[in-house]
Symmetry: C2
Subunit: 258 residues, 2 copies
Amino acid sequence: MKLLITVRYVGTRYCGYQVQPNGPTVQAALCAAAEALFGFPCDIVGCSRTDSGVHAECFCATISRRGEDYLPTNVPVERIPRALCRHLPEDIAVWGAKWVPPSFHARYDVLEKVYTYRIWNRHERDPFLADRAWHYPCPISDAQFSAMRDAAQRYVGEHDFAAFMAQGSSVTSTVRTVTAASVERQGDLILFRVAANGFLYNMVRIMAGTLIAVAEGKIAPDEIDDILCSRDRNRAGITAPACGLCLSQVVYSPEFCI
Amino acid sequence: MKLLITVRYVGTRYCGYQVQPNGPTVQAALCAAAEALFGFPCDIVGCSRTDSGVHAECFCATISRRGEDYLPTNVPVERIPRALCRHLPEDIAVWGAKWVPPSFHARYDVLEKVYTYRIWNRHERDPFLADRAWHYPCPISDAQFSAMRDAAQRYVGEHDFAAFMAQGSSVTSTVRTVTAASVERQGDLILFRVAANGFLYNMVRIMAGTLIAVAEGKIAPDEIDDILCSRDRNRAGITAPACGLCLSQVVYSPEFCI
């Protein structure tokens, strides 16, 4: 059996999730913690590759002995989260753990992921959200906000999201199914939540940047449909900053949920 | 006229509010920003001296030209917050500014201050609250929580709070009036809010540590009355960590409120 864990992290200090030579990554921190706890090198497979500065409220990853599809350990599964936490820095924590079959794959078996994009919409910056939200200082009126909501609804459904993918990415298909999208105000904070069976590179950040273009009147809500059809990245809005993005939920088949 | 400003800061990186030789302080950052904006050295007088690691949602301070009780400037008052923000680090922001008479004193004219103490009460640590709440991992039951509420009510009123003051402090009087105290749950977070006409050194942190001693059954809620009467610091609970403390509100006479 492999171990499936849920991980919560503040991405600010990291060069993204995935191991890379030029800076600290969440995967490298998890690898080091797993090796310290279990006493041998481990493979960590994550549910997605979050970018530098992106956060996660609930990231999922599997741990197995390096090169194997199982994890030999006598540590009771309910004690593993806290035991791993002892070997992790303050900005990463493991909240849950569960045994899953060797065939389980943390990325390929994802049914749905939910991202939250946070926009701090007030003239003054908020030091408590400095690395946790996009500061968009111009006040968004109720009419502008309602246009954003309308636009967000147009993301829902099975579409070719090529216009909402960073240029230069290569994937076999750019078709994804967005199952839900909402925009909500919580005081001066605007929360854009989007659920899909998969996301293209920078897709949520481009969707968020496009919603701001809608608020600014540069894109009409019903133009979203045309932009989707056009498959033209240049017609969508800017790529909103990484700091506003957070992976909020990862859905697997019920038997794998922690 | 002096300028009264409201300041919001994450205290983690600072050796407290007040200027000191051995590390960065909020006051020093405000001094530097004021000098950069106005073009001459300034005096910054704060509403209180928060400790190292303590946060503020709404700190108040006055700015005047060094050695004077006025601030000569042509910058319109409504533009000053954003202008100061440009000279401040990401973890400090100025949210408001108002002219006040030369006789106004940011500390002596305070009528009431409100502090919030945050306790993260879940086995797992929360990376998003690492420096913003006290991690108390043992689950607090409803009965224990209700004892904490009962105890908190006993802080309300005019009392001698000597038992809730760090040893070695010197003040003329240890009598303060607590006007309100509440304990509330928000999911896994416990918020202790307390309002008073003034606070002794470490008073809120000792009050919070004492509430946890009540949850643990080490102190009965009605013992709070005896502890107050005893004036004995050793009878109260521990000094809870600085990171959980936040200055939430500062009240002046209505004419000085921003």
